[in-house]
């Protein structure tokens, strides 16, 4: 895995280059201060380049390979997080959170029905605590009618 040792350093250097290139497009019609908006991003890019270059030279041991099934679980969890973000408003907080809790619980080895039950309990508890207790706006969804 020689490529793995250099992957992190190369990725950081590429990011630094992209940041620096983009910083050159920050132009103002009449300058308000001698540095302008592009200078500080260049400082960040310089730090990234310095760190990335040193990581490249030092070599960063590739992380241990993921155990079997881990990638699938992580991809599914990520998908469920994104789905939750999209479904929160249409479904409402309680429904969306119950489903999401259950989905993550199943990924962690829970059985579906108890997972749904625990999810509903948790969602209702959060909902009453935050909406009624703290006045936090959470979407009600179709349950509000």
């Amino acid at each position: 895995m020689r490529g793995g040792r250099h992957l992190a350093g190369l990725a950081i250097l590429a990011l630094a280059a992209a940041v620096a290139l983009e910083a050159r497009t920050f132009v103002v019609s009449f300058p308000t201060d001698p540095l302008g908006p592009g200078a500080f991003p260049l400082v960040a890019a310089a730090l990234l380049a310095l760190g990335g270059g040193a990581v490249l030279l030092e070599g960063s041991a590739a992380p241990d390979p993921l155990p079997p099934g881990a990638l699938r679980r992580i991809v599914l969890a990520t998908g469920s997080f994104v789905a939750y973000a999209l479904l929160l408003a249409p479904l409402g907080f309680v429904t969306a959170t119950t489903l999401e809790f259950a989905a993550v619980a199943v990924l962690f080895g829970g059985r579906p029905l108890p997972a749904l039950g625990a999810g509903l309990g948790f969602a209702l508890a959060l909902f009453f605590l935050f909406v009624h207790g703290l006045g936090l706006p959470l979407p009600l969804g179709f349950l509000a009618g």
Binding site: V19, A44, P63, A77, V82, G110, F130, L134
Partner: protein, 503 residues
Amino acid sequence: MEALRLLGEGFGVALQPLNLALAFAGVFTGTVVGMLPGIGPINAIAMLIPLIFAVGLPPETALILLAGIYYGSQYGNSISTILLNVPGTAAAVVTALDGYALTRQGRGGEALAMSAVASFVGGTLSIVGLVFLAPVLAGWAIRFGPAEYFALMIFAFSALSSVAGNSVPKALAATGFGLLLATVGMDPNSAVPRYTFGQLKLFDGMDFVVVTIGLFAVSEVFLVLQASRWGQDASLAYGRVTLALADLRANVGTMLRGSVSGFLVGVLPGAGGTIASFVAYGLEEKVAGDDARFGEGELRGVAAPEAANNAATTGAMIPLLTLGIPGSGTTAVLLGALLGLGLTPGPLLIERNPEVFWGMAASMYVGNAFLLLLNLPLVGLFVRVLRLPRWVLMPGVAALSFVAVYAVNQSAFDLVLMTAFGILGFVMRRSGFPLAPVILGLVLGPLMEKNLRRALALSAGDWSVMFSSGLAVSLWVLAAVSLLGPWIWRRRRLPDGGVGEVD
């Protein structure tokens, strides 16, 4: 004794019924959230900040709640460290050595009681230090100009980089990434959008709550998910949560030494609780000599780091409140909260908002007392939460993260952004990149840029202004020494040294 009179007024603020109730609520919720395996103080605070904003409390009351959460989450972290051997911060790694050894001997309850008492002693003594040292430091910091502030922030970064993880290059890259995140959004000086890719949602910049919860809490869910089997400590037998008087007496010296050394280390920006607990543990090993059995269940091995850690927490408040410079990921999150409450930590805070500063100092004391009086009897309740199976705990962590992030802007975009940072945090942690510098960079970035641009505007673009005062030059030198010194030293002494992730 001006300080004492003001502290008395502070107690007047802290002891108002609402504030007292909130201090307790903060300590309690902080303990529960901070106790969740792998969550720790930084996530507990980041998750609860949006709720504090949402309720719209006055600043001093909100700060009291925050301080309660901070102390509570540290104690909660000690509970899971001692009983489950899952330290949520690097500072707690030291406590795990003897704390978990005691649990395996069925003496976890004693370790928990020792931890609570030591935290109380450390917290109490260090507040005395805070009350006397903070005004002095603030009076001195009033002379800081933009160039000095910039150099001071460089010092904070290099101090953090030298203790965060075992690779200075990785910490530098993480710092650069944090500063980059700080520039995302509309430039306040020129209104030029930077790194927004036309996304209107990014014009206001990256919210530190979204980034923190993504990088730390969501990545934790992924990390736990990655493991193929989840060991569950079924029994969690811990015995009675009491401490024999003889044990208490035997640990008085340990707690005092831990408090003093922890406080002194905590005041240094970047050092924080991690170094403090390592130093205190090492010191205690030396003092105890050969007859002690450190690492095999020695109560002093719990008392020293716990006292030091709590004292360092208070010590870290000094640079945070008087200079506006956080020294760790957790205090960076606190700084973000202070700015969000409309307070500007800095030399003028004590003068302009005395009720805030002294009220908070007093409520830190009240919070510590609550920890001791209420959390010890409640340990049984907390352990019941820890006994919940993984498949209930981890979705709960995820759901709490969602609520906290959604509360910031009521935006689905933030939830997606949080997930993306979760993946990034997962990859960074697996590859050995420290996360704390990212948060510090994100929170300090705007202040740094403002001071840099102000300094150069005053000098009409002459960069020598950055090194024009003796104070600025000495801060630059300190920064260079703190960054490179430990690196060189460590490369010589410990081939694979390092203390892991800092709090």
